[in-house]
Amino acid sequence: MIEVLKLLIIPGIFFLFSLALFYQWLDRKFYARLQNRYGPLHTGRQGILQPFADFLKLLAKEDIEPKAVDKYIFRGVPILFLTISITALFLIPMSGIEAFTHFEGDLIFILFIMSLVAILAFLGGWCSTNRFSTIGGLRAAVQTLGFEVPLAIAFIGPAILAQSLSITEIVRWQAENNLWAIALNPLGFGIAIIALLAELEKIPFDIPEAETEIVAGWQTEYSGRKLALLRFSFDLELIMAAALITALFLGGPTGPISVFPGIIWFLIKATIVVLILSNLRALFARFRIDQMVSGSWKYLVPLAILQIIVLQLILG
């Protein structure tokens, strides 16, 4: 019974849904203020309900399905996208040291889920049979080649420290040793942030949905309910990125003052990570796809390997 309640409330679906909408608002508002704009303002206090209103509006809109699309994949992609994103979130500790479900090797599973997301993006673009969608899907697939390897290597750093491939174990190691993994992995932290920007398709890596080049990229043909689900999955992915960084590098849901429950520490840290991500996307222009992939292999991968070597030397 308690398990079911946990699944539904904290850190369950209800909590995650509200947090996803809140982080979307936070991201939009902060990004807008950096650009000297107001951002959402009308729905709710300071526009805080705007993402929810957008979600509801999209649910109510007409859902157009072009004749030429491959119906099963086209309908399946948004649903799978949402399911996969939620699945990933249950593997990351949020309210306590232990995640809702955990097993040895779930870090690898998370990386696998991230690749699945890219494959879904490619499928969604391909089955839309729209020129812009196809190019966007291809770009999403190529982009994966760029960010996946450095991301994986950056995640290995904390895993080496904890001698475990389980996110829960990594958080436990950090809590027991009272040491955040970022202290020994500063470079890995930076690389993980950059690679996650690419995973989330945010500036400067919003190449698969480059507005001025290919409309909305692989999502061009999606509308109505399907688009609502897709956009919502992106919000969940933002939580996933923030939660992963928090768990692997920032000590997860633990903190120096033990009076606060873990969830408060998690929220503080994850919010900071979201703000870092929004800040970064206000600073750059978009790369070209070839520049992104070659830059990633030229700089990110060697730096990530260097980080592992340095870590091994420190550990002796």
């Binding site: 500036i203 409309v215 206000a282 750059f284 222009a285 070209r288 520049q291």
Partner: protein, 391 residues
């Protein structure tokens, strides 16, 4: 066409294009091999409309040729008609015209910089630049009463005088714009992601710029010293000292620097003009009709060289009026810029000439095999449309 190449249509509906126009790219993988441009989607029949209106009415219609270079087209028109009427405009009017024209150059260049930043995905720069562009729009509203379609000129002078209050606002505004433009120049020179997308992209070598008759900032970014304000000064440009900006890296980055530097130069021109503003009347009375004859006037619009031609038959309406907007002069060089580039660079290369489609659109029928051209009347077009849509 070989097997490895295929065509990608850009437009007439495309997110990179603010107005409908069609570019058919022949690409091999990501590289562009050939470009075909098709015009005529937003032809508005302006030149025909000029013939049925009086010279005074045309003064306001001509502004509608382009919403951004409204002052440039109107100034070119009044220069042309005034020289045909042989009336002498008072120096104070010349100076006020220069000030408004330069404010418009600032507004146009900043608008372009914002659009270019948006094309390469740098939305923060886009928002900042457009915020600062508001200063020039507000100043124009103070001077002429309108933010965009100014109607600042009248035949024989300008409509409104500059008060001392407006002059002090102008001085303050031009100082802020200069500081901001210098800041944007610093960003453009140092920000790595901008350089990645702009440097070495859309190359137009000096030789091609001369041969293909590129105009405006596009040609100056290829090192060609070509500016109507220098070689055929109008209004007060012969009395005001200013630098002709050229860059010789011939790419999109050079076009960014030329425009930002010209913005800085424009603020200096405004500063000089308001401190050397002559006193006297702001206009003389002009006759209603123009003596028979022909007239041509040149003008450096923000986008480049603007050419107007007028043929008069002695009445109060022109017999023929022709406008060659700057974008038309840049099409050929733009096709050259695209060839050899990447598909992902198309939006920024297209934007780099600051195209204005509806100013420039032409409508004619061409048989490519026999080089025969012809035109259709409105009735013929209607008949064709009915047949085409099967009604």
């Amino acid at each position: 066409m070989s097997e490895s190449t295929y065509t990608v249509p850009i437009g007439p509906q495309h997110p990179a294009l603010k107005e409908p126009e069609n570019f058919t790219l022949t690409v091999d993988g990501e590289e562009i091999i050939d470009v075909k441009i098709r015009l005529g989607y937003v032809h508005r029949g302006g030149e025909k409309a000029f013939e049925s209106r009086t010279y005074v009415q045309n003064m306001y219609l001509i502004e509608r040729v382009c919403g951004i270079c409204a002052m440039a087209h109107q100034l070119c028109y009044v220069n042309n008609i005034e020289s045909m009427m042989e009336i002498e405009v008072p120096p104070r009017a010349h100076y006020i015209r220069t000030i408004v024209a330069e404010l418009e150059r600032i507004h146009s260049h900043l608008l372009w910089l914002g659009v270019a930043a948006h094309e390469i995905g740098f939305d923060t720069l886009f928002m900042y630049v457009w915020r600062d562009r508001e200063i020039s729009l507000d100043l124009m509203e103070e001077i002429t009463g309108n933010r965009v379609l100014h109607a600042a000129n009248t035949l024989g002078g300008v409509r409104r005088d500059l008060s001392t209050d407006i002059i002090s606002k102008l001085r303050k505004g031009s100082k802020i714009i200069r500081e901001r433009a210098e800041y944007y120049k610093k960003i453009g020179l140092t920000e790595k992601t901008i350089l990645k997308r702009a440097a070495g992209v859309g190359i137009l070598p000096y030789k091609d710029a001369v041969e293909l008759c590129a105009v405006g900032p596009t040609t100056r970014a290829s090192g060609v010293k070509k500016d109507v304000r220098k070689f055929d000064p109008y209004s007060a440009y012969d009395e005001i000292p200013f630098d002709l900006i050229t860059y010789d890296s011939c790419d999109v980055a050079a076009r960014i620097y030329v425009r930002v530097d010209e913005t800085i130069e424009s603020t200096k021109i405004i500063d000089y003009a308001i401190s050397h503003l002559p006193s006297g009347p702001i206009g003389v009375k002009a006759p209603r009709s123009v003596p028979p004859g022909e007239g041509v006037s040149l003008l450096e619009a923000p986008r480049g060289e603007d050419i107007h031609y007028c043929k008069s038959n002695g009445t109060d309406k022109p017999e023929r009026y022709k406008v060659r907007a700057p974008t038309l002069g840049n099409w050929a060089s733009m096709a050259r810029m695209l060839i050899g580039g990447y598909v992902a660079d198309v939006p920024i290369t297209l934007a780099a000439i600051d195209p204005c489609m509806s100013c420039t659109d032409r409508m004619t029928f061409v048989d490519a095999n026999s080089d025969k051209t012809w035109t259709w009347s409105l009735e013929r077009l209607r008949k064709h449309a009915k047949k085409f849509y099967g009604r």
